[in-house]
């Protein structure tokens, strides 16, 4: 009966395809609409935060750090409230990670400061003795790619209706607006303004000078992103 398939490669291939595609249809498709709604208080990333997120991705920080707090007492004690699906509504790609060589970072903005990150990224073992995290010294000189972050904002805004320049509801009933530039120059100006706020809390003179002269090192963008994780 079935052995007929093994003599007819075309129908065999069709049979295999149907068998393997079946699971995906049932498991993945029904969830799509429901999971993509943001929870109240989740805002899109600003240009600088998004540039920082791309620095995070560029250096595969997700190879060692998760961004997913599981609903266990030991995890909520350590990292804060467990993660909710809607909090990730603007995460493209998701950055849950699969390995915790270092701690979870989903709410790192609640308990670490600009100043802490500045020292830590330069020499992790000096801040946390025994740390096996490498030094990320190049982030203090490489410049963040603001243009690409802006292009990413435009893309998600145009293709996936991510609400930029629009009021977004917050938990306390108020609304907030995340601004996106109208041109490349405007986007860079917005990012620079945000960077200037961040370097106020930093000590590295070279980074301060760079921002003062209109350039944004990767570390500033990364810290903006880290601080946005709450």
């Amino acid at each position: 009966m079935f052995h007929w398939l093994e003599k007819n490669p075309f129908f065999f291939a069709v049979g295999v395809f149907v068998t393997i595609a079946f699971a995906g249809l049932i498991e993945i498709v029904p969830n799509f609409a429901e999971a993509s709604r943001p929870v109240i208080g989740t805002t899109p990333y600003s240009t600088l935060e998004l540039a920082g997120r791309n620095v995070y991705i560029k250096n595969s920080c997700n190879a060692c750090h998760s961004q997913l707090i599981r609903p266990f007492k030991s995890e909520t004690d350590r990292y804060g409230h467990y993660s909710l699906s809607g909090e990730y509504a603007f995460d493209r790609p998701f950055l849950w990670g699969s390995k915790r060589t270092g701690p979870d970072l989903h709410r790192v903005g609640n308990y670490r400061t600009t100043d802490w990150h500045e020292n830590h990224m330069k020499d992790p073992a000096a801040v946390v003795p025994g740390s096996i995290m490498p030094k990320y010294t190049w982030m203090y000189t490489n410049l963040a790619d603001i243009d690409t972050a802006f292009a990413e904002q435009l893309t998600v805004n145009q293709f996936f209706a991510v609400p930029y320049n629009k009021p977004v509801p917050m938990k306390d009933g108020s609304t907030t607006v995340v601004k996106m530039g109208g041109s490349v120059a405007e986007a860079n100006a917005l990012a620079l303004a945000e960077a200037k706020e961040i370097v106020k809390d930093m000590k590295d003179q070279d980074v301060k000078d760079a921002v003062a002269s209109g350039k944004i090192p990767e570390i500033v963008a990364l810290i903006a992103y880290m601080n946005s994780l709450k």
């Binding site: 079935f2 052995h3 007929w4 049932i26 029904p30």
Partner: protein, 67 residues
């Protein structure tokens, strides 16, 4: 009835169907021993053992079933 209910019923029905077909298939294989062309299934192992280009195929493609 919402999508989750439908999924649950669909799931149950498919599970029963798959289980029945699997066991029916196993029963069929071991009862008949031979496939529709009259070859014992176990003969097909020879496809790996006698795989020289000059060896006779277990089940040669004949002129009329070219497709």
């Amino acid at each position: 009835m919402n999508i989750a209910d439908l999924q649950a019923y669909g799931y149950f029905a498919i599970t029963v169907f798959m289980t029945v077909s699997l066991y029916a298939y196993i029963y069929h294989l071991y009862k008949n021993k031979k496939d529709a062309d009259g070859h014992d299934y176990e003969e097909y192992s020879n496809m790996a053992l006698h795989d020289d280009i000059g060896d006779t195929p277990v089940n040669p493609i004949s002129k009329d079933d070219k497709k």
